[in-house]
């Protein structure tokens, strides 16, 4: 693998086998764990911010652009932002997934948009887009966690 083909700061690292993930468990000090926790919270609040804070600029910008665009498109397609509904257990899971997008979920709620329009032909598309944006951001947070611990 050549250095120009790699992502982020590892691109400037020497091209040796030691730069490859080994799968070993990485011990982290309490201070490191606080930093990792902050990175995860940043990654939840704004998609891609966790990677940006870890120095993975290209990945962070890419994740932010795609996930926020997916979420915004979902809102534009009359999708709804899920919220817990009494007597509907699955709405709790959907809320958990949607809230994975972080601050945009809170902002959309605060602005009173994202209620969805079930009469719209794109309602289900919008729901899927907003839900998957939140779920993707959860995966990105796990990736940011691994990056912060030095596993990737």
């Amino acid at each position: 693998m050549t250095a120009s083909e790699k992502w982020g700061p590892e691109a400037s690292a020497p091209d040796t086998d030691s730069s490859q993930p080994t799968g070993d468990v990485v011990e982290a000090s309490p201070v490191d764990m606080i930093r990792v926790l902050v990175i995860c919270v940043l990654g939840w609040a704004v998609p891609g911010l966790g990677h940006l804070a870890s120095g993975r600029i290209l990945r962070g910008v890419l994740f932010a652009m795609i996930i926020l665009t997916l979420f915004a498109t979902g809102i534009a397609l009359d999708g709804k932002i899920y919220e817990p509904e009494r007597g509907m257990p699955l709405s709790y899971l959907a809320t958990l997934g949607s809230a994975g997008i972080g601050l945009p979920y809170v902002i959309v709620h605060a602005l009173g948009i994202g209620g969805g329009d079930i009469r719209s032909g794109t309602f289900e598309y919008g729901n899927t887009f907003t839900l998957v944006a939140g779920l993707l951001n959860m995966l990105v947070i796990f990736d940011a966690y691994d990056v912060a611990l030095g596993r990737r």
């Binding site: 590892e10 990945r59 994740f63 998957v132």
Partner: protein, 57 residues
């Protein structure tokens, strides 16, 4: 604009790009995985749509 296929393509490309970038460190492999995921999503959706076309409920 209401094109189901375009929505499907947009969704597939977005998911493929994020998963490809996340699961592969090498840029070329990330692009390859992202393309495979996107094509897989679109292909599976089209195939399922055709299967359902022949099923009557």
């Amino acid at each position: 604009m209401q094109s189901h296929f375009l929505y499907l393509c947009f969704f597939s490309i977005a998911v493929g790009t994020v998963l490809g970038a996340m699961l592969r460190s090498d840029r070329r492999e990330a692009i390859r995985l992202g393309v495979w995921i996107a094509l897989g999503l679109v292909g599976t959706a089209v195939a399922l749509a055709w299967v359902m076309y022949f099923l009557s409920f």
